[in-house]
């Protein structure tokens, strides 16, 4: 029953339903957003930041690594309680969580933990991680992100399959109820180790329609919404009284991947023609200065290893046409392209369609359901794939998933190498186990250069994420970047 002073925060998020509320499994935006509210990692990014150099203690009070970098030891904070009476957090839970995150059956983050030799608990509050090779950015893997979230061992074992709709963590807010296709309700974790949150209840609503979210926000039915990632929208809603807009990084890089093994795209000149036909400035102008950034390389801005020292193709229609002619397509080419219904990809694709048309490259767009899109692009059904992604902000994650031939779609180890790119395999693999940071950066740079020389893809722009809130909502810190795509809500957050 609603008590008289209950503070309820109502949030409208994208998507029509939760996917799986299991932090090790789900990589969907709508789920990712609420994980940091419910879970903690051993360490965390400072609230409102995604800077790897500003990592702070969270469940772990302190940590150290051995000289060879192969052994890491974490001291846990004492007295941290899991939600719903699942007891105190111990090293066992951490061991269980990290093992869970590194297993293919229980995690989608398992690849990142391939170099973990063992995780053990020497005592109740100590966790020891032994690696097979040194990982310079190990701390990143135990932050409050994806595999780094610590779950309750007892809860996972007890709930089994139901854990994904009944997550148990240690965060400021505890899961209360999930209503499919409608909402998730979280309640304040009064025993939160940093202090009880000032918000009593969070209603996290699934509202796939942007207009509906905005209308409901306008009507005061929602306090915080996932906004439309467009300049105009941002400017308009900013003008409204009592509204504050947060534009959050890290951005998602929108890249046009070109299948280098098929059809006209086999010819590098056609791929170059496409690269020249793309008008990044127009795209950024469309999306808007505040919410989009022109991309400078195949690795997103702000990622460790990103460089601008790469051969990016300039917008040049004449050159594009000439290249096409040279390739034997004086009348242009037509490509049958599959694209999702989801606006954040479809709309840029429609702009690309119009841009390429000017160079004589006709895109015959087939708009399909989002899931069909994912299935089809993994079957090489579309020669051009426009894909947007944010990954862990290290060049390796991007290069491995999109440009390593191991990850080529259609192979057993497939991830998301849609272009069948194989130009930089050596560099990417070498960089991963390179302990020397400078050498590592150099390798990553070469890799990026090679990928672009082979013209595997056209990086276009980076899309930031927009949230709008009532000014009554105060995070308690500056909300700049967030790996979860959403604002961080914790004990500091207030709603007047």
């Amino acid at each position: 029953s609603p008590s008289f002073a209950e503070v309820v925060l109502k949030i409208g998020t994208l998507s029509n339903d939760a996917n799986q509320l299991d932090p090790h499994v789900s990589t969907k935006s709508q789920d990712k957003i609420l994980f940091p509210w419910v879970f903690n990692g051993l360490v965390r990014f400072a609230p409102g930041s995604a800077d790897l150099s500003k990592i702070e203690a969270d469940l772990a009070e302190s940590w150290k690594s051995s000289a060879d970098g192969l052994t890491w030891t974490f001291r846990l904070r004492k007295g941290v309680q899991f939600h719903s009476g699942y007891g105190e957090l111990t090293a066992d839970d951490v061991v269980f969580s990290l093992n869970r995150a590194s297993k293919k059956e229980t995690s989608t983050a398992y690849k990142g933990y391939a170099d973990f030799a063992s995780v053990s608990a020497p005592d109740k509050y100590t966790v020891k991680i032994v690696l097979t090779k040194p990982i310079p950015s190990l701390l990143g893997m135990v932050t409050n992100y994806h595999g780094g979230y610590i779950v309750s061992k007892k809860a996972v074992e007890k709930l089994g399959d139901n854990f994904k709709t009944n997550p148990i963590g240690t965060g400021p807010f505890a899961f209360s109820e999930y209503q499919s296709k409608r909402q998730v309700t979280l309640v304040a974790n009064k025993d939160y180790f940093r202090g009880a949150p000032k918000i009593d209840k969070i209603i996290y609503r699934y509202l796939p329609d942007e207009a509906s979210r905005e209308l409901a926000f306008k009507n005061g039915e929602l306090d915080l919404i996932y906004g439309t990632r467009e300049q105009r929208w941002v400017e308009r809603i900013r003008k409204d009284k009592g509204v504050k807009v947060d534009i959050i990084g890290l951005g998602e890089l929108r890249t046009l991947h070109m299948n280098i093994t098929k059809g006209p795209l086999k010819d590098i000149r056609v791929r170059q023609a496409i690269s020249h036909a793309v008008n990044r400035d127009e795209m950024v102008a469309f999306v808007g200065q505040d919410v989009a950034q022109r991309s400078i390389s195949v690795v997103p801005l702000g990622y460790l290893g990103n460089t601008s020292d790469v051969p990016l193709y300039k917008h040049d229609l004449a050159k594009a046409k000439a290249l096409l002619k040279e390739a034997g397509y004086p009348d242009g080419v037509t490509l049958k392209v599959i694209i999702t219904k989801v606006a954040s990809l479809r709309v840029p694709m429609e702009i690309l369609q119009a841009q390429l048309r000017k160079a004589g490259i006709i895109l015959d767009l087939e708009v399909v359901e989002h899931s069909a899109f994912h299935k089809l692009i993994r079957q090489d059904a579309s020669p051009l794939v426009l894909y947007g992604a944010a990954r862990f902000p290290v060049a390796d994650s991007y290069l491995t998933q999109f440009y390593l031939s191991d990850s080529t779609v259609g192979t057993p180890t497939a991830i998301t190498n849609f272009s069948h790119c194989d130009a930089a395999d050596a560099e990417i693999t070498a960089a991963r186990s390179e302990a020397d940071q400078t050498k590592q950066l150099a390798l990553w740079k070469t890799a990026q250069q090679k990928v672009l020389t082979q013209t595997c893809s056209v990086p276009i722009f980076e899309q930031l994420i927009v949230w709008a809130r009532t000014t009554k909502l105060d995070y308690g810190f500056e909300m700049k970047n967030s790996l979860s795509n959403g604002p961080i809500l914790n004990e500091m957050t207030t709603l007047k």
């Binding site: 329609d209 942007e210 207009a211 905005e214 209308l215 306008k218 439309t228 467009e230 105009r232 929208w233 308009r236 127009e282 102008a285 469309f286 219904k341 606006a343 479809r346 709309v347 429609e350 702009i351 369609q353 119009a354 048309r357 015959d364 767009l365 087939e366 708009v367 399909v368 359901e369």
Partner: protein, 290 residues
């Protein structure tokens, strides 16, 4: 060549039609509106001021002005041009799908009604199955399966229209079948085909046309609804429903993007409804004399 050329055949038909229309003035209004819409659609290539798919990002979301009479959408495309080209799709999807559904449904309905017995059971049984799936959902499924494009959209709507027309055709067929002139035909040794095609069909045609125009109105709406849900034709092809859907994102700031195509849907559907309504009143002999 007709054996007994009617006194001023065509002129007379036109005169009869005018008389029928005069009984219910809304038919005229409907017809005029409709002709207006059709001519817009037909003339779209010549009268639309811009290429409907040409983006002009810099001029996006501009309100109505001398350059863009109805403003531009969020890609900077001219809304008026898109509406004009969209009319072609809405009107042709609506009309063709209903004609297709009407053709199939009418043949089946007459057959079921005239032949009766197991023909009736079989045909109407199958029709009942199709009728058990609500119109929009049928369209939804078919388009989801076959992929959203013009042809599939048309087929989807035709599929939902056909069973309705089978029903519409069957009922009067049964009553006409018992009229003496059909019996007279049989007594004259006419084949079933001749009776169905030459004697029953012309007598139910009026009713079919009336229902046809009303269903085109529905079909235009279904097309718009499917486009609104995102199951319409491929981008960048303009359709009215799709335009409303796209404009819905900006409904609060730039409502005209949705409002203009909405008005055109409204007018078109209204025109077909008015035409059909008027025709229905005019053709119904019971409503005629009073």
């Amino acid at each position: 060549m007709s054996l007994f050329p009617k006194a001023g055949g065509l002129r007379r038909t036109i005169r009869d039609t005018i008389r029928v229309f005069n009984r219910n003035k809304t038919s005229w209004a409907g017809l005029v509106l409709l002709l207006f819409m059709v001519s817009l659609a037909v003339l779209a290539p010549w009268i639309s001021p811009y290429d409907p798919i040409d983006q002009n990002i810099l001029e996006r979301l501009s309100p109505a002005s001398a350059e863009h009479l109805l403003g531009t959408d969020h890609f900077g495309r001219d809304i008026l041009s898109r509406i004009l080209w969209g009319a072609r799709i809405s009107l042709s999807v609506g009309t063709i799908s209903v004609l297709m559904g009407m053709a199939v449904g009418t043949v089946l309905g007459i057959l079921a009604g005239y032949k009766g017995k197991y023909w009736d059971y079989m045909i109407m049984g199958v029709m009942d199955v199709f009728m058990a799936i609500p119109t929009l959902l049928m369209g939804l499924m078919v388009v989801a399966v076959l992929g959203p494009n013009l042809v599939n959209l048309t087929i989807a709507i035709a599929l939902t229209v056909a069973p309705r027309f089978a029903r519409i055709a069957r009922a009067p067929t049964i009553s006409i079948k018992n009229r003496d002139f059909v019996e007279a035909g049989r007594a004259m040794g006419f084949s079933d085909l001749r009776i169905m095609a030459g004697h029953i069909f012309p007598n139910i045609l009026g009713e079919l046309i009336v229902m046809g125009s009303l269903w085109i109105a529905t079909a235009v709406r279904i097309e718009a609804s499917l486009s609104f849900i995102g199951l319409g034709v491929k981008p960048p092809t303009p359709t009215w429903g799709g335009m409303i859907r796209e404009g819905f994102q900006n409904i609060l700031s730039d409502p005209w993007i949705s409002i203009y195509p909405g008005i055109f849907i409204l007018i078109t559907v209204l025109a077909f409804n008015m035409l059909g309504d008027g025709l229905r009143d005019a053709i119904d002999p019971k409503l005629r004399n009073s």
